[in-house]
Symmetry: C2
Subunit: 589 residues, 2 copies
């Protein structure tokens, strides 16, 4: 029991010196990558840069104790930072203590939600987010984040939560572009964009192995940070109007209780839930991808607990919401991390950086951090996925396109909520019209197939319908419409047989529909039969009234049903030579 | 086309004198029933009594032109009236012009919503309301309505939107009970309760036929109305404190535009949607029940149009939301109505009543109307259904019990919204964990069955999993967990075969999961195969990338798959004597 909730007890026992060495190397590399990212994402969330450092210490320690992934690296990430900024914007002004307090509360609330979901095993709630919706949302969020960094690169102050708002703000401010900032920003942007593809080959040409080169190339952002800070200091570019990070308080964060103001918690409940669910979905997919490579397993419910604790820890240490970062976890994995202890060493290194490096960060230009954000988030954008998804499934494509457009046009919260609502509605719409087939007997066999696709024998007085879907509330009314329409259309009908080999469930709504159909058919002089009902479904039906009131019978097979209702026909058909059962050319669904 | 939207063009052509006679008789009987109900439900909605009469004229004429049910009787009903009162209570005080204006706007908004759903063929949205939720809601609403009438029967003024609030108000006011009102109320209640069961047999004993007696018994409320109004007038009970309906403006309602205040429309949007959907679900189930008796058919999408037009008409004529009433439609049907024209004649009769009877209604005690409401709504209450539903399906029973309790404890809107949310969540929870079975070959056959239920042959390097559910976003992650767990658990595994005979759909989320599983299995050195993929599902997969990247193959049958992956085993198993395929005693699901 204790081991389930504390996976560290499991892997910690087998920890040896070789593992320690691997984990330490990975921790150093992740730290080099994490320092600029944590500063940048704190600014993206509208917070002081040091809050990013604070959010990269305690959460990592907690994840080490509680997480089941060997290589997941938690910390501040781009999308959650944008969602944090959006959530707090209506509640407090940037730079105020209230703003920071709301960010802290947001981390605690979303952490408690994740913890509760984990302890109550409610991870399935994340299923509300379909792949197309989350993928469209991440793409759109990436575009919003990148666009939102343009003012920083231009050295103008402008903001906005939607693409039109950002565009309007840039258009209004572009005349005030600061040339020195623009120079630093574009240089950093160019270097980082080149480094993403060009640095590793160059390092390999210099004699480095393929994997060390790929890992070392991840140090490009810290190089950009160091070089641009040195340039600002050396050339006194602050005097030329370059905005810098400025003074960062020395020392580690002091633990503090978040605000417990009920009004604040109510206002943050929905954003906290969205951050929790989006963060969890991203975390779990990264963790599963990496675990599969080594045939390891992760426990999705325990990941909720670990991520929840990490967020509560982030909040209590004065930080903001954290998540498992994709790029960072891949680097951790590729750099050789073997256990979650690598995360703990990263946390120690981040604490050391917080204690020692902050004076050096004084001259760091914000434009460099904006450039690291732009280069990082553009990898999240994959708009071609909308086209691919649409080609595969129009409903999914529509849900995805709507998520992208509403996120860009109306902001992150309306975007993701609309996506969830739309994918649920489309799901309901699809399952509300299940595939059904009128079936007949294939001559020479006991098989019954779709009359539209095969040459089959049917009897006018008996209508056999195969339903290719579970019967439950989204399609309960469909079945009523279908059967009653058939009866209204054909006055010679005496029997209806529902063939149920693909019916995996009959819920209470569908049961009531079947009872209503049975009663209405009875009044119309038609008997209702069932055939090929699956075992578990039958077990349940035996607890209902339906089997007592059913005007017809439940047959083990469709052939038994037809043999009982029209024996002379089935016997003759069975004795006949087997007919051509190929699909008809004009096959209709 | 025109005929689809105007069903009157269809049945109107064949209208003859015999049909006219039948329809006229039915119209007279329905009118006698409708006069007290329309007055009572207007008071229940917090409106002046005459508004009930206004809502019983124009909507009936519109439904005659547009409806597809031959016998549905639309008009004010109990549940929609309660929902109207609840919706408007926070916006305006009873008796004010603003209150009436909001009721009118509510009818127009919910009518426009129904019209839009009908024209866009969005009737499937009503599927969000599962049977257990709607049935629990109707029961709870019936209890709330009956409880809410007790103060009227006691002659005290008290109200409340929840059962605790009503109970508290009655406890506070019971000391002020008016004896004369209580006498009238209990007499009317006793007479109506007796009449519901006892009047028809008594009329039959007097020589009336069974059906005429049943229909005539429906006149009991108008007898109670007439007798109690006469008593109040003759005994001057108004002086004794009996509350009466009072002066009703003479004449028909003048058409008027509703308020177009955007704030009002926004505030009424959710209640209007709930009234529209609940009203539609009730209407459609009544209409289908009655149509099936005569092997007629109704068009659910056209019913949305007809009900929508009826509600817009109700609003423009100064009325409030209307719905197809169950008891009233059954009476109409039993009294012999053959076409929707009976509704038009009812409308004319209601108009005549509005013009002539209003002076006679002056002395009608409100307690009598309260008694008619109590007797009518108690037939809606069926709390035993919660127990029956729970016995059949625990998830459905929980959703139903929650709907009842939240409706009673927190009011109609929270009740129905919680019910919808809960049934969607439970549905998602159930389908997120579909039934899956590891399968093996039955000796002596080409069949593959569940290893837990049958004696079968399996091969260590090959894992065959049958999935008994469509693959879509609620269970996409489940499949990933399942497969990756299996791989992590068994290092000897080389092939996984997903057997898909029960997979009716693979949506974009599941496709991405399959692609992710394929890629992760590839990294772990395991190949992924599919077998028995259905035709329409395969058509779609052929438009995706999956078939190009799949490390394994797609097999027509599971036997083909095993025959390709472990030929020596399948051949040997096939040649072996057929083993016992009975379910094992220890069969696990």
């Amino acid at each position: 029991m204790l081991r389930r909730y504390l996976p560290v007890l499991d892997w910690g026992r087998r920890y040896d010196r070789a593992t320690l060495a691997s984990d330490l190397v990975a921790a150093v590399i992740v730290t080099i990558m994490l320092i600029p990212q944590s500063l940048a994402y704190a600014l993206l969330a509208g917070l002081p840069a040091e809050v990013g450092l604070y959010a990269s210490i305690v959460p990592l320690l907690l994840y080490t104790l509680l997480g089941t992934s060997r290589t997941l690296a938690v910390g501040p990430v781009a999308v959650a930072s944008l969602m944090t900024a959006t959530a707090i914007a209506p509640l407090a002004a940037r730079g105020t203590p209230e703003y920071l307090g709301a960010a802290v509360a947001l981390a605690v609330i979303s952490g408690l939600m994740l913890l509760a979901m984990g302890l109550m095993r409610l991870g399935f709630l994340a299923n509300f987010l379909s792949h197309p919706v989350i993928s469209g949302f991440i793409s759109a969020a990436g575009i919003l984040i990148a666009a939102g960094q343009l003012p920083q690169l231009l050295g103008i102050s402008a903001g906005g939560a939607t693409l039109p708002a950002i565009a309007a703000a840039i258009a209004a401010g572009i005349g005030f572009t600061n040339p020195a900032t623009l120079a630093i920003g574009t240089t950093a942007l160019g270097f980082l964009a080149w480094a993403r593809r060009g640095l590793a080959p160059r390092l390999r040409a210099l004699g480095l192995g393929a994997r060390p080169a790929a890992v070392a190339a991840r140090a490009a952002p810290i190089l950009a940070v160091a070089a641009s800070a040195a340039a600002v200091w050396g050339l006194d570019l602050q005097a030329a109007g370059v905005a810098v990070v400025g003074r960062i308080p020395a020392g580690l964060p002091m633990p503090a209780l978040p605000s417990l103001d009920p009004a604040l918690w109510t206002a943050l409940a929905v954003p906290a839930l969205l951050i929790a669910v989006v963060g969890y979905v991203e975390t779990i997919s990264v963790a599963q991808t990496l675990a599969a490579r080594k045939r390891q397993r992760i426990d999705p419910d325990q990941e909720l607990v670990a991520l929840g604790a990490a967020n509560v820890g982030a909040g209590l240490a004065g930080g903001f919401p954290v998540t498992g970062g994709f790029a960072r976890s891949v680097v951790n994995h590729e750099a050789g991390a073997e256990t979650p202890a690598a995360g703990a060493y990263t946390a120690v290194a981040m604490a050391a950086a917080t204690l020692t490096l902050t004076p050096a960060l004084y001259h760091l230009p914000k434009a460099t951090l904006a450039a690291t954000i732009v280069v990082a988030v553009l990898t999240l954008v994959d708009l071609g996925a909308v086209r691919r998804t649409f080609a595969y499934s129009r409903a999914d494509g529509v849900a995805m396109a709507a998520t992208v457009l509403i996120t860009l046009g109306a902001g992150v919260e309306p975007g993701i909520l609309a996506g969830v609502a739309l994918s649920l509605a489309l799901h309901l719409w699809r399952t509300s019209r299940p595939h059904v087939a009128v079936v007949g007997q294939v001559a020479g066999t006991e098989h019954f197939r779709n009359v539209n696709r095969h040459e089959v024998v049917t009897v006018p007085a008996v209508l056999s319908i195969r339903i290719d879907e579970s019967l439950y509330f989204p399609n309960a009314r469909f079945l009523e419409d279908l059967v009653l329409d058939a009866v209204a259309r054909d006055p010679s009908l005496r029997h209806i047989v529902l063939m149920c080999p693909a019916v995996n469930e009959i819920d209470a709504s569908a049961l009531e529909s079947l009872e209503a159909i049975n009663a209405r058919l009875h009044e119309a002089g038609v008997r209702l039969h069932l055939s090929e009902v699956k075992g578990p479904v039958m077990d349940r039906l035996e607890r209902s009234r339906l089997l007592h009131t059913l005007t017809g019978q439940v047959f083990l097979t469709q052939f038994d049903a037809m043999d009982a209702l029209a024996p002379e026909i089935t016997r003759a058909t069975l004795a006949a030579p087997r007919r051509d059962t190929r699909r008809r050319a004009q096959a209709a669904r």
